[in-house]
Subunit: 453 residues, 2 copies
Amino acid sequence: MAHADDALSAENARLKTRVRKLKKKLKKARASVSAQNPGPAVSPLAPKSGFPAIPTIAGLRLSAVSAGVKYQGRDDVMLAELAPGSVISGVFTRSSTRSAPVLDCEAKLTALPSVPEAGLAIIVNAGNSNAFTGHAGQQTVDDITGALANLMDLPQGHVFSASTGVIGEPLPPQKITDALTDLRDGLAPERWAVAARAIMTTDTFAKGAWAEVDLDGHPVRIGGFAKGSGMIAPDMATMLAYIFTDAAIVQPVLQDMLAAGVQTSFNAVTVDSDTSTSDTVMVGATGRAGNAPITSADSEAGGTFAAALQGVLQDLALQIVRDGEGATKLVEVRVTGAETDADADKVARAIANSPLVKTAIAGEDPNWGRVVMAVGKSGAVADRDRLSIRFGDILVAEKGWVAAGYTEDAGAAYMRNQELVIAVDMGLGAGRATVWTCDLTHQYITINADYRS
Amino acid sequence: MAHADDALSAENARLKTRVRKLKKKLKKARASVSAQNPGPAVSPLAPKSGFPAIPTIAGLRLSAVSAGVKYQGRDDVMLAELAPGSVISGVFTRSSTRSAPVLDCEAKLTALPSVPEAGLAIIVNAGNSNAFTGHAGQQTVDDITGALANLMDLPQGHVFSASTGVIGEPLPPQKITDALTDLRDGLAPERWAVAARAIMTTDTFAKGAWAEVDLDGHPVRIGGFAKGSGMIAPDMATMLAYIFTDAAIVQPVLQDMLAAGVQTSFNAVTVDSDTSTSDTVMVGATGRAGNAPITSADSEAGGTFAAALQGVLQDLALQIVRDGEGATKLVEVRVTGAETDADADKVARAIANSPLVKTAIAGEDPNWGRVVMAVGKSGAVADRDRLSIRFGDILVAEKGWVAAGYTEDAGAAYMRNQELVIAVDMGLGAGRATVWTCDLTHQYITINADYRS
């Protein structure tokens, strides 16, 4: 009897494994069937809590209107107004074919005094990127920012702009200039969600984040929003982010903090390795919080503020990956033990951008051989016998081979999670880097291979 | 006890029903998938003429057998034997996690005298790459090449090997060593197609090419075969190519010609930017053609031979792209007018590896904005206003904007061709580069996201 019992138990265990595998295969087969169906209305990786309740920031007002640049029935132009005394910093795409608004922002930022006397404005439209539009592109930027400067009684050098959408098509300024009065009249401190939605292209959810810190007894707020890598044809993978704070901080320090902060946030995420002609991140500070002005990142207040800013930048950057086209998995690639940080970054990006790794993740396949391949092709110094690979806490490979206790079942079970960590230790030094990406799915192809008509 | 038994039996029955139902559902779902997205038995880009009739080469014999390494019912081990007096050269993957056979080949090639007295042999298996298999991997290489050396009465340093297939699993040498006698007994000069088929993994067609040139009155033949980027899980994107000639040529010149030749052939093709741990190209020369030995690439004979070798290398390399997973379009990316050749290469690869460009091609979308984006992200020196883009002969964009006479209809009509040329002129200098790639389709995802069980 006990013998029969054992045999049955063993068979049942086998059957359970079989059921699990069949379910998995069925899920995959069905996913392929639905590959040509429209994608989900909202990314499965979107934050469950929705758009956050970002508090108002003294000296900041936001607005949005529907100007009909391309989309109908939704807001497509956003305006942010910063009160006199505000400072602003920005980082932009390194693309050598960057758009007219990006070139304009860079020039204005360089020319702006560190403490501008007048206020500042940022205007952003969705639907047309005004990129690769020849010299007419700059004229359009001049027309829009000039008209807004007039209306708001600001120097034109204080009016920044960005455009996201189709490339190579003229952006007629009139649709936008006609909407400026409504845009200005709609300005209000609490309109975060409205502003965030107006700059979306094919994003499936609006992205916002905020933080509050105490600087010498004064609560200081940081809030911001972003749009991401909705690259449905013919749009580009444009990433835009606008962050505002009531902190008092001198401009060069804010600029340095932003430049440092993007390295481990916006520059550490990749959906498909493509770089937009329009990527823009700007941070404006109104100085109304009452804190003693931050004049160094090394001071206690400076460190506290920089950490909070970094948290907001990273939150927004990860939301962009969560909205990568067709994404069903959020993947953190964590590389340690490289000879240098630069080597670690090479390895992390080689893994995060590898189509073979990303398709394996889409298929929930613990295919660690592809991770080995990506390490090998990265160009970083590597020693096969010192390398170790973990999926989450599971040691998968070490000493040049599969780890002794590793089982394919354990790997496969881990890969079913929606959020994954692939950790590689190079075993060589102290170099480290972390990059976030998503999987590469049928839906990505469906979205991006669609003809534009 | 009886109670537990009953419960187990009941569970057993339930599980069996569940398995049966799941199998049925899976069959149905898969039927829908294959109806919707059938992977072609043979790539639509395969040469219409089939495997070429490569002439025999004096001093070369080929063989293949079925050793059951992984595949059943097909040959999976190939042997090439080069007569005494032959010389050999090779280039290998630059991956830092390269396989045991690659490391072994590199070491043997370095140690080999320029004119080996004894003959040479190359043995290749498909089904297991013997990569990332720790120190056991080298032992396997020693066992296989040692046994073959004994059998063929060759120094072990004259026996080269390669393995392609699953990564990280031990390659048991016995299956292969058991097959060596049959393999040797099957050696014959004309077995090109048999050899080419034996090294295939998920290639959809065998790849061969040949050329004949006259060197001082002597016909000299070059023939070869390759396997490509069939990367179906869990195989790697391994590219192997073996080329043979009866030319008399000194080894260092042959090595230099090969190293130069791969730059514009195997190193100029990309399916998905991923690099294998096993990529190998070897050229063996038997010296039986009767030509005066080639001692320089700069001589007339040297130039003629190098050009013919280059033609064979490029033919094989393009066949690999034609068999890229899911490929429906062969794309030549031709960059001219860059500041340097290196810059042109950066631009060409940025375009050829861009998922956004490749999905647009799959969708037959003349999305030139994505080409602009790829130029911009390449890191090469670019001036938006000097850049021009052509699809075939159609001028699409110039002077920083869409070309005056360009119509979307003309672009769309061109994109329906099976073979496409994307030409970018940077307008800056004399730097040029050409890279070949294929499109990125649903079928690529289906192949590579499949779970390995």
